[in-house]
Symmetry: C2
Subunit: 246 residues, 2 copies
């Protein structure tokens, strides 16, 4: 058996998220369906770095699986892309040691969140950004408020209530805002993220940017360890899992 590390990109618009759910179209289900075809019906279990929610995108989701097939990785790569639907693309296939684990070996992740701040959101961007109806936030304030988030903290305040994870201490390494034309990007990198953490951070810092929350408030939110003190969870279609570090 060989272990393969596979990096994929997907348009999350028409998926009920990454993880298999009975009766739903998911990224994992599509991958395992195609692998079963390639393995003559044998079930090949795919393990990803983590799940993504419905409508959330990925430009660098990473996964592994074990395969008895000895075909070269390049051919594997092509065969996967031929069989997969067009909203999932395999970017790379690499043979790795058997102790590589797409989830347990993760040392960091980078996410991107995009708002489209033009007065009328382009119809071509409706599934890929969150519209602000022309509101342009105070990005300097958002960047300043982000200082309270960068570092190692118990991030219970930014974790969706419905989670079974006990240890909520994570390290946010960088959190930067960038304008790309009239689209505002938030790029966040850390050693791990709790359920909905990036979307809750995006929603909370947005409130700072539009003057509904002060810069100083962020330190109180983090210290509170209370989800109710943070802002709204920003919508899924603005979020991209961009890179997984090992």
């Amino acid at each position: 058996m060989r272990r393969l590390k596979v990096i994929i990109s997907y348009d999350g618009t028409h998926f009920s998220g990454y993880q298999v759910q009975p009766g739903e179209r998911t990224v994992q289900a599509e991958l395992e369906r195609v692998l079963a075809i390639m393995h003559k019906g044998e079930k090949i279990k795919v393990t990803a770095s983590g799940r993504t929610d419905a409508r959330v995108h990925a430009t660098g989701q990473t996964l592994h699986f074990d395969t008895p097939l000895s075909i070269p990785t390049e051919k594997y790569h092509k065969a996967l892309n031929v069989q997969l639907p067009r909203d999932i693309r395999v970017l790379s296939v690499e043979e790795v040691a058997n102790d590589f684990h797409a989830r347990y070996s993760v040392v960091g992740k980078r996410y991107r969140y995009i708002w489209s701040c033009e007065l009328i959101q382009s119809p071509f961007r409706r599934h890929y950004t969150v519209e602000t109806n022309g509101v342009k936030p105070n990005v300097e304030a958002m960047q300043e408020a982000a200082k309270a988030i960068i570092g190692t903290h118990d991030f219970s305040c930014f974790c969706a209530a419905n989670t079974s994870v006990k240890d909520k201490v994570r390290t946010v390494k960088t959190l930067q805002f960038e304008w790309h034309g009239e689209e505002l990007h938030m790029v966040i990198e850390g050693n791990g993220f709790l359920y909905n953490m990036v979307r809750i951070i995006a929603g909370t810092l947005w409130e700072v940017g539009v003057g509904r929350r002060t810069i100083d408030n962020l330190a109180l939110v983090v210290a509170s360890e209370d989800r109710d003190k943070a802002g709204k969870t920003a919508p899924p279609q603005g979020l991209y899992l961009e890179k997984v570090f090992y």
Copy 2:
């Protein structure tokens, strides 16, 4: 009655083209459905600069209609965008003289055609560009061959067979290729275009770019006035109606 000139953008992916067709989702049908709501059931006929095919996009389609409503154009604009589906956006609403006609007053149009030339097409671009599987054409050759198209010609060679138009003389004012990262854009402007003309030009010049047709061949194609001498019709999802000139 006031006449309004309206500029719209639409993502053509989920439309069976611009023009009303029974039982199909079309841009015109959506516009007229929304106008009927705004006019309490009264049918308001919309006239566009011309039709676009299924999956073809627009960033500057232009249309007119007559309305008995006296609400300000700004409010009209907002009301339309509130009611319209998200894959159609109204970019502007302007009151015009009653002799303005979205189709008959046209003096020119600009189209854009986009190929994505990266090895693996981004899943986010699958509906908005045509993939070349990593093939990067010789753009200098395409630009040189385009010289045979620029100017005033009978363009029967670039007109789909199923058309009722008699006079096929048109003037192509400019035809330029531009790289935007790994995406190749063809921008073409002229006083008018025959049915499928831009897509047939794109398909024919592409053949020059990949060495399947010589630069010199283009003059023969144009002179032949024979559709069969030109190349394949390029796929619809790469095409954008960008601007209509009056």
